[in-house]
């Protein structure tokens, strides 16, 4: 006879504009023991809000009204100081659901990149997105993933920006050039391509949209050959919810806001 595994289930309420952008119903339905719908916003353990400008205020309000967890979908660059203080005081976990940076392959890719970045010769990365995408939002999503993978970038500067995309220049800590390009086109599914080259190999990462559980690809190339890291058939949305569950169970806080503050600083300096 086996004992049933018991989970603590957290109730969820999503703001209408966050519901679709974060595919909340789908993500929650794929974690049915961990999360379930709340009868009302006031009774929700977890509140989901959109990352449109002003999101830090809305998230702080959610924390103030008793939310134990907050998911922010596609956060725009914004100062997070007061939200960080509010979350720390209440013990709430605030997690960010980012288009590419939240992909579950990112931690493994980050380890691979960080082990090589000190001897990098070039970082070349291209994000593609559908026509109509705001270049500024695309760049913020792009940079969030790049900084997460490679660490801080210096001398960031836009060479050009327009309706068809952007080209941004920077350097890695060792002085190697960084080229960040955005391309707006309906020709291909939106995706982020990241390639770090060293003298004898490198790391290439392709991150898909979180619309489906398409796996990212992470390839590490060295003198002995090329290693494809295990593929993870899970969207960035679902990976975000799993992280939230871990924080809620452990009573721990997320480092998302802290990391996002550095990103916001970079984007603000560029503008």
């Amino acid at each position: 006879m086996s004992a049933a595994v018991t989970f603590q289930q957290y109730t969820v309420h999503a703001a209408p504009e966050a519901q679709e952008a974060g595919a909340v119903a789908l993500a929650v339905a794929s974690l049915p023991e961990s999360f379930g719908p709340a009868a009302s916003v006031n009774q929700a353990d977890v509140q989901v809000i959109s990352g449109q400008p002003g999101w830090t205020v809305r998230a702080a309000e959610a924390v103030a009204t008793g939310a134990r967890g907050v998911v922010v979908v596609n956060p725009a660059a914004e100062n997070t100081d007061s939200l960080q203080a509010a979350a720390q005081q209440s013990g709430a976990a605030v997690v960010l659901d980012q288009r590419w940076a939240s992909n579950p392959a990112v931690p493994g890719a980050e380890d691979a990149v960080r082990s090589m970045v000190g001897r990098a010769a070039l970082l070349d990365t291209v994000a593609t997105a559908q026509v109509g995408t705001d270049s500024g939002e695309l760049f913020a999503d792009h940079l969030a993933a790049v900084v997460r993978l490679a660490g801080p970038l210096a001398n960031l500067r836009h060479l050009r920006r327009g309706p068809h995309g952007y080209t941004t220049t920077g350097v890695l800590a060792n002085g190697a050039p960084v080229a960040i390009q955005g391309v707006v086109s309906n020709a291909r599914p939106a995706a982020l391509d990241f390639r770090l080259l060293t003298d004898d190999g490198g790391v290439s990462v392709t991150l898909p949209e979180p619309l489906a559980a398409w796996p990212a690809t992470v390839k590490v190339t060295g003198p002995q050959g090329e290693l494809l890291l295990p593929t993870i058939y899970e969207s960035a949305h679902r990976a975000t919810w799993r992280r939230l569950k871990e924080h809620l169970d452990a009573g721990s806080s997320s480092s998302d806001l802290h990391r996002f503050a550095a990103l916001t600083e970079s984007i603000t300096a560029l503008s």
Binding site: D124, H164, G165, P177, L197, D199, T221
Partner: protein
């Protein structure tokens, strides 16, 4: 048809002779010239050809009907002109075929006067993958807004050794990357020696190519570049890194709002078939290739056809391709100079 080759270095040994070996039914190497008599003799012996150290000897050889010019860049113009004046049936000149627009115009005039067709060894323009793309790209060259060329290559020797047994290689150096002149030289060399393979392709997608400007140019160690270009209607990004990896990647991409073309080329030197051209239009993907020969073999097939009377390409195309490359090389160097001046100013 008899072929004579001026210059018997690694490109002749590892690229042209293996390509010609696949075309024995239409082309035969008759004469090899190199300033090093031992190299000329050894390379000629591989194919049973005559050898010499003199251009005049090769051009005066009646068995030579097609001339390939594979000498150092600075000799290209005078040798192309001499080959035309010698009454040969067709001339292949390795890129770049001239070092400035005046030379290019002179060559064009001589070609027109003598009726000898000239093609430049921009092998990707003869690659069946590129040619298949050109038959299927609809209005993409007119509607594209973003173009990329990305090149990651192992050292040439890796692929030369897969292609043949090389005798004599140019000595490598240990550049001083702190010297701005070294960086400028490396970037000019990168444009005129590496990017130039794809610049004719890029130009095909850039109707306003005469208005190209360099937004930023940077050197990639040990040899490569990151160059961002712009015309009034196009964004053009050039990337290249030649390092010690084993893994080559060479791609050309063009994007419009609705369609994208990606061409993945095989590495130079090896007979690894053609590029593969992939069109994506939303959820629809069409693939052309691979075909069984590469652009180098394509060049030789084209030369044989030209020598047999096929209509040659417009001379203006060659001149425009060259001036486009020279404009980018000059603007790249100017950009680096201005960066250097700013850095110097900051340190002053």
């Amino acid at each position: 048809m008899g072929v004579g080759i001026l210059g018997a270095g690694p490109v002749t040994q590892a690229i042209h002779l293996p390509s010609l070996a696949r075309l024995g039914d239409i082309l035969t190497v008759r004469h090899i010239m190199d300033v090093d008599p031992a190299v000329a003799e050894s390379v000629a012996a591989r194919v049973g050809a005559t050898h010499s150290t003199s251009i005049d000897a090769l051009l005066g050889d009646p068995d030579v009907e097609i001339v390939a010019i594979c000498s150092p860049h600075q000799f290209h113009a005078e040798q192309v002109i001499a080959a035309c004046r010698a009454g040969k049936k067709a001339v292949l000149c390795e890129k770049p075929f001239a070092m400035n627009a005046e030379e290019a115009a002179l060559i064009s005039a001589v070609s027109a006067e003598t009726g000898v067709p000239i093609i430049v060894g921009a092998m990707h323009t003869f690659d069946p993958g590129w040619l298949a793309a050109s038959e299927n790209w609809d209005d993409l060259p007119e509607t594209a807004h973003t173009i990329r060329s990305s090149i990651v290559l192992p050292p040439n020797a890796r692929f030369e050794d897969f292609a043949t047994e090389i005798i004599t290689r140019p000595a490598g150096g240990a550049p001083d990357y702190t010297d701005a002149e070294v960086i400028k030289g490396a970037l000019r060399g990168g444009v005129m020696g590496l990017a130039i393979h794809d610049l004719p392709l890029i130009r095909r997608f850039t109707p306003d190519f005469k208005d190209v400007e360099v937004l930023e140019a940077r050197h990639v160690r040990p040899f490569g570049y990151v160059i961002s270009l712009r015309t009034p209607t196009r964004t053009i990004e050039l990337r290249a890194a030649m390092n010690n990896t084993w893994k080559p990647e060479w791609s050309f991409e063009a994007f419009s709002d609705d369609a994208a073309l990606r061409i993945d080329f095989t590495p130079s030197y090896v007979q690894a078939g053609s590029a593969v051209a992939t069109f994506t239009r939303g959820s629809r993907t069409t693939v052309h290739g691979p075909f069984e020969h590469n652009g180098y073999e394509g060049e030789w097939r084209e030369l044989a056809a030209l020598a047999a009377g096929k209509q040659p390409p417009a001379a203006q195309t060659l001149i425009d391709d060259l001036t486009f490359a020279l404009d980018i090389a000059d603007a790249t160097v100017a950009n680096v100079e201005s960066q250097h001046a700013v850095a110097e100013g900051a340190h002053a």
